[in-house]
Assembly symmetry: C2
Homo-oligomer: 850 residues x 2
């Protein structure tokens, strides 16, 4: 059994828990902390009781009272309730009575008996409370007698329920308390709750046995204080102070007083300005030693100040940044330490566009602010409609009574989600936060009339499908029209933190950007390039889609080639624009990936119109759609398979890439080196065949344009086989980019679109520890990635390794990539700052370990 | 440069090729083989020409002629054409003229010049042939002068085309010939062709330089002979003999003569009975030394017999078995060696049911016999119809103009395929052979009238959808009705071979059997148990399907549970029957695997009827079908996912299994130990959860029935993640069964149903070396299997390892499983004998290597 004294140096958090660790830090700077013995493991203390007893006997001072408090490894892992006034017995009580403090003595004895009865003897709390309530109405002059009566009744109640007298031996009290706390800590529910917060299976509980300061009495009280404003993080004293009046029914706390002098009511400063000064004086040294802004709990007892607990100051995400900046400025914290303190996910909240505070708001309805950010778009009432509108480049808001897994694809296609039903944990809210979409749920004063395809507001406004609305997911407003929006990243605090993160990270952070707009936004975040430019989105624009469909319906390769020639100038222009924006930074272009049927209409209703547009009969179009139908499109003719069976498509894309790069490089200061990425590879021969075609095209364009464009060819590792054969692939490829979305789907045999039906239940019941689409499954997908990196690098020392799945914006996954020494990760624009911070953290932590 | 003499002992096949190896064996038993020098590597001979020249000089005998022949590692790897009459020059020619053999001398010289000109100097063959044709019409008495004229013209043509005289130095001729053969061997096309037949990348070419015997002249000739009948394999001399008349235009071969005396025409026996006896006398000793029935090529020259080549006797698959049996009986071959000689795939041809030869045949049409066996069923005209009829337990014949990848699922559901168009390599033919379905293609005297859904035969017969026909895929007949059929495996030769194979194999061979009928058929093949009993098929019978659908449409778990109780007795009865048939052999039952929507109607047409049958509204049914729709059903809610989200389904199945086993074990001599297999696992927690439920049910049934049923729980390893986590799984499971169909799909990210569109092109262009669904992809899927076996066994020493994908019937895959020490493979009933032989072969070969 391991124990330590609080004043004997700073205690290790892993052995003695967070409470003991912090208190030992506080004590180390001379702050007035009551002496305490720390027991490293409550369960072990119970097991080896004889050691424990001997230790206690040498420690306990006869006549003193003690508190026993939980000291878990992390504050949010919970822990059993505190025991008060341990050591109280008739002798101590009589000494206190003799000293004249009858009410205090009674109250402490009563508390000791009741809390012991509840926790150790397992008694019901209600009879004890009823007793107290019975004594609540006596007049102050009867207080002392009645308090003694209450205590007596409490002792009798204890005896009646347990058939024993309240134990008088302090050691016996303490042994019972420790046993009780160990038992509570190891109860299954407690375990599940703390495991959900990341506690390891074998997390133990340390205990702090401390001399009790109670703050009862006329000149005494308890309070908490912090020196930073919880909202803004700026320097401002706040907190509260409470003093208790004692009566027959025990302690009766006052209202919360303020800390500083204030005209609106009483304050600690007025009540005891010396104590106030003493308390304030503790904050600066404690800040230094814990390297963070503290919230201190203090007790004032007979003119003395005691610090009983040091927590971290309460703070909003925004405030937490300010605090860190101040700590660094005050040299209380290094930049490295500051960066590791940030919860990267909290950054996401700042990064969504917001409605301009000065813009007029035409509020139609209000609901629950379920996922932050503001977005504007046309109303659609179904997932199908959202997908088809999206495929035509339209911004839409998906409006539903509530969403179901069937809506997930539609949600991905929408700019924001609005539901009439549901709360913060509804399907819509959970998914929207996951994919970073603004979302308002439970807008109950709206009514959806399915028959007329209209929204009717409570004051009779009618909105039709296609009408433009704006969703403010940060405050729950639903607004008519498109109020002006502001980008949120202009906050200087975030810029500062990101600058540090970018200095401190090793791994490149790139962005998944498909359009010039995406590229521009990404550059503002200070990315290292585009890690994934999906070219399919470039063909959904109205006029291109028409040609794309004609191409798909063409009967011969020759015909296809001709139509592709019509599509080529647009594609070339896209690349020119993106290359110019990126000014020589790497741009990874993925050749066409989705199966061709994704470009064809999804429902029969559109057939006649579309058939007319592209100049075929409805029957022909329907026949072709049927012919292209796939049972499992994700595992069908897409990616490089399409590229090899219809080589003219990739050839057109390659021509567009080289022509664009040649054009840009003619005058650019920093010439672009395009990176061409082949999707859905499962065999190296696929890469070789595509490579030989691309090489020819590159040579052709160089001859024609007179500009030689160097380029890098890469493979997207999305199939388990590609991961296993990475050694081969690395001979043909200059980079491998881990496509962890598809790789996860294939490794689990699990379609993300279809997993919605059961993923929540799977995670809740612990079948999967986490949703593997949100964070890399280290044990399965992780092993494939590890092997791919190892084999790839073994066969090609200069191989670049990246990741471009959605996990690229997930801090845990980024940590894994740092461990595996990836060259970069690429993620969606709004996740870039999250990734930058997470990458810096991972690098800092890893350096420390090494 | 390595060389060897043919008569100096038996030459290693790996260094000197198959021709030299066989000839050295023939020479070793004293048969009259002309002397020869064997050059191990043509390319090396070219490289180190000085060694080669020295060697040649010491070997060549002035005045003799030589042939130079290719000796590749295997006969079917091809090889350059033979050079004749090397060494011929003016001196040799003049000697022959002086000896009086003018026509022979001219012909040999002309052959030498022409073949040298073509192969070494790269001349066009046509002018040489034109020359010969010009001399074809002279009368016999002008022969000698004209032959000299032809030779002169040939020499002039050579000089005109090459600007050089025909080289007179035999060494120079030989050097040119060797260079030419080396070049041809390493030409890209030749390489591709032999690689396709399994030649390694670095396969070299050996050469046999042999003294030439030409067989020209009145008393001479050439022939081939074998002592077994090519059709039946029984002992019967056959072959042919040819003698050439020489004329001005060279050698003019006779018609083929028979070997033995025959009243219908001339024979070797009549022509030269001594030579005939000498030839026959060679067969027995050569049979002994090559351990197989030979086909000998021989030359008779001036009364002498020479053996110039020993091939394996020509034989049908049936004959080859007879030959092996005879060789074993004659103790020329061990059983082990006999088994390794069999091409396991050839066995499949014997195993399909055939139409009883005595049954009357009402022939409607004839087409190409594309895939063997006979099958009877009702006509259907679409894949959808085939699937729905199949799902109702009906046997159907799918009739199409031609098939496309869209038909593949329908083909799997049909008993046979009939197409109006196409040949042996049409889509229908290829797929049907792959999945072992009888198939007739190109039945062009049939007409399909789509509008009336009828087949019209050329003589006006009309067949409607639903009419019963029979397909004879072994001879191409399409028959009306259901003629009697016979099982084919009654052939005693096959039984004998299978008995040997079953004695000689280590690995268990189980069968994939879903019904009592399958189980009975499998037992006749002598299997070691059922390795995969798919329970979904048990719910497609009419009355069960109705309840299954009601269950799927139920709104609550309670309602589902009630309907499942109605399904339980049928399921129990199925298992009782199968357990009784299998008499204590292992039976592996896979819990329900497919997604529930597979049990619902596929087209809207059936909705009203089905809705009425199960007692819901059409709208409700349509809504539920929509709700169950999945984007990628293979990666959706199926297998253990279904089992965990709707636990009542697996619970019903477990109850049925244990109740059936308890019932059977009450009286069985060999009690059944059911093996319960969980499909589509990706995490061990899935197994633990199912296991704990099954354990409870087993205990319940034991209590109720008084019979304790031991059972084994296993996991089907179908996802890459399950393979990687096999170490965990093996802690919960007693066996792992590799589900290589799905594992291949997921490792490649490739749906088998959708791969049809491009698989052929992928294999043809070498992107994939083989179709990974037919034979295990060693480099990708194989690595996952290897790791799964290793990790599984490391964590559970008594773990059983099996395989139950379709590759379980593929010889190459079986070889892999033997290497990895699998306990068993399981395959479809008609592949069982193939698997038994392949398993024996693998074991024999592996023992030899060790």
């Amino acid at each position: 059994m391991e124990t330590a004294r609080l004043h004997d140096g700073i205690l290790d958090i892993n052995r003695f828990g967070i409470r003991a660790h912090r208190l030992s830090q506080v004590a180390s700077v001379g702050a007035p902390v009551p002496p305490a013995l720390v027991i490293a493991d409550a369960a072990l203390a119970v097991e080896s009781f004889s050691d424990f007893k001997a230790e206690l006997e040498s420690h306990l001072i006869q006549g003193k009272l003690y508190t026993l408090r939980a000291s878990p490894g992390r504050a949010d892992w919970g822990g059993p309730h505190t025991f008060l006034a341990l050591g109280m017995n008739d002798d101590v009580f009589n000494e206190m009575i003799a000293a004249g403090d009858v009410l205090t003595a009674c109250e402490l004895y009563r508390q000791a008996i009741a809390s012991f009865g509840l926790a150790v003897s397992g008694l019901d709390g209600e009879p004890f409370e009823t007793l107290v309530a019975q004594f609540g109405s006596y007049s102050p002059d009867e207080n002392e007698e009645r308090a003694i009566e209450l205590l007596k009744a409490t002792r009798e109640l204890y005896k009646a329920e347990t058939d024993e007298d309240f134990p008088q031996d302090p050691i016996e009290q303490l042994a019972g308390a420790v046993r009780s706390m160990a038992r509570q800590w190891h109860a299954p529910t407690a375990k599940i709750l703390r495991n959900a917060k990341g506690a390891p299976e074998d997390a133990h509980l340390a205990l702090v046995l401390q001399e009790m300061v109670h703050g009862l009495g006329a000149t005494n009280g308890v309070g908490r204080i912090q020196a930073v404003d919880p909202e803004s993080g700026s320097r401002k004293l706040n907190g509260m102070f409470v003093k208790a009046t004692l009566s027959a029914a025990g302690a009766n706390p006052s209202k919360q007083w303020r800390i500083e002098k204030n005209k609106n009511g009483p304050s600690l400063e007025q009540f005891d300005s010396k104590a106030f000064q003493k308390v304030i004086a503790q904050i600066a040294p404690i800040t230094k030693v814990i390297k963070d802004a503290p919230e201190l709990k203090f007790v004032i007892e007979n003119g003395k100040v005691f610090i009983t607990e040091a927590l971290l100051a309460r703070r909003s995400p925004r405030a937490s940044l300010q605090i860190l900046l101040d700590l660094v400025e005050a040299e209380a914290l290094s930049r490295e330490d500051a960066i590791t303190r940030i919860d990267p996910s909290s950054i996401a909240a700042f990064l969504h566009p917001q409605i301009d505070p000065d813009a007029p708001r035409d509020i139609l309805a209000q609901g629950v602010a379920a996922s932050p950010g503001a977005a504007t778009g046309a109303i659609v009432f179904s997932a199908e409609h959202a997908m088809s509108a999206h495929s035509q480049g339209q911004d839409v808001i998906l409006v539903r009574h509530e969403t179901s897994p069937d809506d997930i694809r539609g949600m991905h296609a929408a700019k924001a989600i609005l539901t009439v039903r549901g709360g913060m944990t509804s399907h819509a809210a959970v998914i929207a936060r996951g994919i970073g979409l603004p979302c308002v749920v439970g807008a109950q004063n709206l009514r959806i009339d399915a028959a007329s395809a209209q929204i009717i507001t409570s004051d009779g406004n009618v909105l039709n499908s296609g009408d433009i609305i704006t969703i403010d997911g940060s405050n729950g407003d639903v607004l008519r029209g498109a109020p002006a929006k502001i980008e949120a990243l202009l906050d200087e605090r975030i810029d500062q933190v990101l600058r540090w993160a970018n200095d401190l990270r090793r791994m490149g952070i790139r962005v998944n950007a498909d359009t010039p707009d995406d590229a521009r936004r990404a550059l503002r975040f200070g990315v290292d390039g585009i890690g994934l430019c999906r070219t399919e989105h470039m063909f959904f624009a109205q006029e291109r889609l028409r040609n794309m469909r004609r191409m798909i319906l063409a009967e011969t390769a020759q015909e296809r080639r001709e139509i592709l020639t019509e599509l080529e100038p647009g594609q070339t222009a896209d690349f020119i624009e993106i290359f110019e924006i990126m000014k020589g930074l790497p741009v990874t272009i993925r050749l066409l990936d989705p199966p061709l049927h994704e470009f064809l209409p999804k429902t029969d209703d559109d057939l006649p119109t579309i058939a007319e547009t592209i100049g075929v009969s409805s029957n022909d179009l329907a026949r072709r759609i049927r012919a292209l139908h796939e049972f499992n499109p994700m595992l069908g003719m897409r990616g490089v398979r399409l590229g090899l069976i219809m080589p003219e498509i990739y050839e057109m894309q390659a021509r567009a890439i080289f022509a664009a790069a040649a054009e840009v490089n003619k005058s650019a200061e920093q010439p672009v080196v395009p990176e061409i990425m082949i999707p859905l590879v499962s065999a190296n021969r696929e890469v070789e065949l595509v490579k030989s075609r691309i090489d020819k095209i590159a040579a052709n364009i160089a001859k024609k344009s007179g500009v030689e464009v160097p380029y890098r060819l890469g493979v997207m590792v999305e199939t388990p086989r590609a991961a296993l054969r990475a050694g081969d692939l690395a001979k043909s490829a200059e980079f491998l980019s881990m496509g962890t979305n598809d790789l996860t789907q294939m490794t689990y045999g699990l379609s993300r679109d279809d997993a919605g039906r059961f993923m929540r239940e799977y995670v809740n019941t612990g079948v999967f520890q986490e949703d593997p689409f949100l964070t890399i499954d280290i044990e399965g997908v992780g092993e494939l990635l590890h092997e791919a990196v190892k084999r790839g690098r073994e066969s090609n020392r200069s191989l670049l390794i990246g990741l471009c799945g959605e996990q690229g914006g997930d801090p845990n996954s980024i940590h894994f990539c740092e461990l595996e020494n990836f060259d970069y990760v690429s993620c969606s624009p709004y996740r870039v700052p999250v990734a930058q911070i997470a990458a810096a953290q991972a690098h800092i932590l890893l350096k420390k370990k090494v």
